[in-house]
Symmetry: C2
Subunit: 330 residues, 2 copies
Amino acid sequence: MNGTTDATLPGLRDIERAADRLAGIAVRTPLLESPMLNRLAGGRVLVKAEPLQRTGSFKFRGAYNKLSALPPERRNRGVVAFSSGNHAQGVAAAAQLLGVRATIVMPADAPLIKLNNTRALGAEVVTYDRDREDREAISRRIVSETGAELVPPFDDPEIIAGQGTIGLEIAEQADALGVRPDLVLVPCSGGGLVAGVSTAIAERLPGVPVYSVEPEGFDDMARSLRAGEPVQNSPGARSICDALLAPSPGTLTFAVNRRTLAGGLVVSDEAVRRAMAVAFETLKLVVEPGGAVGLAAILDKRIDLAGTTAVVVCSGGNVDGRLFAEALAG
Amino acid sequence: MNGTTDATLPGLRDIERAADRLAGIAVRTPLLESPMLNRLAGGRVLVKAEPLQRTGSFKFRGAYNKLSALPPERRNRGVVAFSSGNHAQGVAAAAQLLGVRATIVMPADAPLIKLNNTRALGAEVVTYDRDREDREAISRRIVSETGAELVPPFDDPEIIAGQGTIGLEIAEQADALGVRPDLVLVPCSGGGLVAGVSTAIAERLPGVPVYSVEPEGFDDMARSLRAGEPVQNSPGARSICDALLAPSPGTLTFAVNRRTLAGGLVVSDEAVRRAMAVAFETLKLVVEPGGAVGLAAILDKRIDLAGTTAVVVCSGGNVDGRLFAEALAG
């Protein structure tokens, strides 16, 4: 794995340090439950509600941890990130809190709510054409021109450790309920969220299987886990899960996930729309398409819950009203 | 006031006892905040998120407290309630948890989600025609035929005390944030929720003004407070706030509210729709029309928030998808 060794993988200590940095700053999101959702799922479901996180998604955790971990003299030269939206808002909010200038490179066709929110958080937004321009090249140019620090979306130990704080909270909150989960489902794009959560769960709830969940056409993590090496998605695939379109696992995230994950599940856009409607009706929670894949896997019976308790991470809620209304209309 | 004296009004001790009964059973709902919502409101806004409560509204608190306070030999004869929906679900869920039979008298045109959810909670639902039949007479008939206990929707000390636990939580959660609120806004129909919350706030945050908020055409509490005696709403009024259509304040709730409230605010259905859309976008929270009146009062500048911190109770999230989609469409 490009020379990735155990020593370079983020561990429990890194996640605990991230939790200390995020204490009182990130929202300790609740673990929600609904008897009606349990009936629909055929088992007990505890939903980790990251739409209620600052900026409406888990991405704030990793971004704030990463920026906090940078030496001030580097951080103060500003930060740059490329993102379809949630990482953009996470970095912008973290930079604003730390008094740092942020430039975010975003696709021109990103959901309007994500573009607007990123600007509202004080960041400079640079848009690009998703089909013709290379966002990484644009970001590198800004880095070389300004000396700013690039904040990667997932393939970074401090980003992974920040997202891993969700795993710590799941273990603590389940314990407070007197519950030991039988499995944990986590949405997956580049794999940073599931890498962090699975690292924390492996230490705090050893033996509890953690699964990544991806949309059809973007199931690179599931196939990479089976292949034992990172594979790419085929070009041209489409999904309503705009937050989960990474082309392949990261080097570091795959090195973690191949050790920690029990497997990868895959869901259809149709199942995702239904999961959004069920979250609306039973949890009163707004969940964006990419945030709802774990719930979709359960409702679509991609895994059998009979007699078990599942923790499902709902990772974000940044969705345009029109798309949300379409999901409600079924 | 029909002989209502201080001695019969619910006090802090009753609310604390309710909090003990509800501990580990009701959800301790979070106090949510959004920088974007703060900007729109022109002040700091902390939202007490009761859509995340069991059954999707605060009504579970009062119902569970009332049923718990009944002697078992009376409770075990079953309970009856009449309600347009949220009280119905609250009583049904409380009865189910306590192993008691529940019969709920609901208008045939109540939101489908509320009818279905009440049945799913194991209650027997008896529907009636809102324009031609008297729900109280139907309920009394069931009581006399079965010996079941009537659970009133708001005009009852144990119901008020149960809703008051929201006030205790607001005081504790604000304190944990290091914040002293400058005002508290609470949706109002019969006035049980605002009576309970204002009683708790008067003790735990003395001097902090609490306001009731009602929809236009159903502003009986605001007018009663000004008149110094209970007044009725004019017949024939309509509002999308299906949870806030009580015709007049309760005897007990008015006796409390005339002492505890700073005043009553009134909002339009249009402001309510916008508040629902803002809660969707900034809080990722599903709020039903009646639950959103406090947020509507702030966004519509019914009260000046400049330089202040307001706590707004969002009281429920049981709304049909079509109505919610209409609110999002503006």
